[in-house]
């Protein structure tokens, strides 16, 4: 570490490619063993006030166990960004996140996340800018390409553009057609946590299945924590050059099997679908319910193994593994049951 942001205004810092560059230039390049515990990684590298990027796809290969640790450690005043950012909702509720650059918060068709509305209405959290998935993805991609901005046909003509102080619309000066384009600046969050199926001790990491924005975010963010489903020998990654994130982007490596639960991890385990329905349908309607939910799932667990006990222990783990293997057509899926008990809250 030892590095400070040169610019303390988080709105400016998000689009300040020179600041991100300076930060990266001062990073320790040494190829050294970066393994530390989840507690240490969250404590040391997630700093109050950081611009924090969600990774994965809400409940697909997302470092959710690390997010729960952030709640346990009572991190505060983070600025959230990400595409999508379903986990930002509960981080707002517990004061971890105080403001956000919104692309999408919700659990698709599984119910309305009423906590999100409550946090915004009560001004517990502030909306700083409004995005689509693709336009924000282009901002991260611009960063990865070392490009100050990328022009896009997204966002034009919408009300989002009025709620986004970063994006400007201009007439295209260089293509065959001079119609309007939206300029998406390169986006440089301060920190992200990425859950990878494999990483070596130095931080070379392998993402299997959809990478979403994570390779770009690993390049863009000033600080990167990898939580790894498996720590593998360096040669395992080198053997077929399967790496997606090079070690020099990475500050800390955490050996964290089951780190994406209760979400899914391709190659390892299917999600716990009821948990997500419990969260949105039972947990979010009022604050007491959410506190009870987190008391049970987070404040009375200390790690992923405590959490797994509450999900059903080894029996659940085996089912989740079978379901992922069946969904990925690695075992005969006609033998695996995908039924589950949809969560329908009682109405008064």
């Amino acid at each position: 570490m030892g590095s400070q942001y040169t610019n303390q205004d988080h709105m400016k810092r998000l689009v300040d490619y020179r600041d991100a560059r300076e930060f990266h230039l001062r990073k320790d390049r040494a190829k050294r063993d970066k393994r530390i515990s989840l507690q240490e990684a969250v404590s040391e590298y997630i700093q109050d006030g950081d611009i924090f990027a969600e990774t994965g796809f809400s409940y697909v290969r997302s470092p959710i166990q690390a997010y729960l640790e952030m709640v346990r450690q009572k991190k505060k005043d983070l600025i959230a960004i990400g595409s999508p950012m379903s986990n930002t909702s509960y981080l707002m509720a517990f004061g971890v996140v105080k403001a956000l650059h919104l692309s999408y918060i919700g659990v698709e068709m599984r119910g309305n996340d009423k906590n999100f509305a409550r946090c915004i209405k009560s001004k517990q959290a502030e909306l700083l800018s409004i995005w689509s998935h693709g336009s924000m993805a282009l901002g991260f991609k611009a960063a990865q390409l070392g490009a100050p901005f990328i022009a896009s046909k997204q966002l034009i003509g919408t009300d989002m553009i009025k709620k986004n102080p970063f994006v400007k619309v201009i007439d295209n000066p260089v293509s065959a057609d001079n119609s309007q384009v939206a300029l998406i600046p390169a986006l440089f969050p301060d920190v992200c946590i990425i859950h990878a199926q494999k990483a070596d001790r130095y931080g070379n990491a392998v993402i299997e299945g959809p990478a979403i924005n994570d390779i770009a975010l690993a390049a863009a963010c000033r600080k990167v924590i990898i939580t790894a489903e498996r720590i593998v020998p360096e040669m395992t990654i080198r053997e077929n050059s399967t790496g997606t994130i090079p070690f020099w982007y990475v500050d800390a490596v955490v050996d964290l099997p089951y780190g994406a639960l209760p979400g899914s991890c391709p190659g390892h385990y299917y999600w716990h679908r009821e948990w997500w329905e419990w969260l949105v349908r039972i947990g979010t309607p009022d604050l007491d319910a959410l506190n009870d939910f987190f008391d049970y799932w987070v404040f009375s667990t200390k790690d992923q193994f405590d959490f797994i006990e509450k999900l059903g222990g080894a029996r659940f783990i085996n089912t989740a593994r079978q379901q992922m293997e069946a969904a990925q057509a690695n075992v005969d899926d006609s033998l695996v049951n995908f039924d589950y008990q949809e969560v329908i809250p009682k109405r008064d």
Binding site: I120, D159, P210, A216
Partner: protein
């Protein structure tokens, strides 16, 4: 007489979505009824379509109904996954023929709101946000909008334009520099299109049993009505069987009433 129960309103939506797809097309599929419609099309009249998903899965092997656009069934032994920015890029590049888009509000010009009822300053209700909706709707050649049609959900003007339809109608979408545009709207009332000059929503085909009056009563603005009203041919027993037994056997998205 058939002893197969007639299609419920959600099943009719899935069926009409399915019929919006032509064989051989590349289809960008969102969560919920569009998934049902896309998979139904593939298992009935359009076996050679290719499904692509915003989380990055491309042309997965057929399997169970995905629970989410990030579900492993969206990238089940797919030849590759694409990063999000590149997956959307395919819409702009002309590699995607048709996409689907739901919304809490859809207005007379096909603008969609998935952001906020009221305004962010004066919230009535907050919605999840654009997600990939804006991207798909800004870039794809043809978008089919889908929603449950009520006067509140189909207002004259959406509270917030998340995904651009024809903006203020006429050539305003084209002048704004956007690509493609909405080609149809599918609701429990039937199928709508947009009148070519004004770009106002127009009845194209009503579901069996529907009337212009019912459709209008479900709508917060004046629908354009063609001279001769056509009706949707109801789904065959075989299509209903495939929908119910193969595509969505657990009724994840087609249970009616839902919840």
């Amino acid at each position: 007489m058939s002893n197969v129960a007639p299609a419920n309103p959600l099943e009719m939506i899935a069926y009409n979505l399915s019929n919006a797809i032509e064989d051989g097309q590349i289809v960008y599929v969102g969560t919920g009824l569009p998934m049902v419609g896309g998979i139904l099309a593939k298992k009935t009249h359009a076996p050679n379509i290719t499904l692509v998903y915003e989380s990055g899965g491309q042309d997965p092997l057929e399997g169970d109904m995905p629970w989410s656009v990030g579900c492993p069934f969206t990238f089940r032994k797919s030849p590759m996954s694409m990063e999000m920015a590149i997956s959307f890029g395919q819409c702009a590049l002309g590699y995607v023929d048709i996409a689907f888009q739901g919304g809490a509000q859809i207005d007379m010009y096909g603008n969609v709101n998935t952001s906020v009822i009221g305004s962010y300053e004066n919230l009535k209700s907050i919605l999840p946000g654009s997600g990939g909706g804006n991207d798909i709707g800004s870039l794809t050649e043809k978008s089919v909008l889908v929603g449950l049609q009520t006067p509140d959900r189909f207002p004259e003007k959406v509270d917030f334009v998340t995904t651009p339809g024809y903006l203020d109608g006429g050539d305003t979408r084209e002048k704004a520099g956007l690509l493609g545009g909405p080609s149809a709207v599918v609701t429990q009332c039937g199928v709508f299109d947009f009148e070519p000059v004004s770009k106002r929503m127009r009845i194209k085909r009503l579901n069996p049993g529907m009337t212009v009056e019912i459709a209008q009563a479900c709508t917060g603005f004046e629908l354009l009505v063609p001279e001769n009203i056509e009706f949707v041919e109801p789904p065959s027993d075989e299509v209903l069987r495939i929908l119910r037994e193969v595509v969505d056997p657990r009724k994840v998205f087609t249970k009616f009433p839902p919840g």
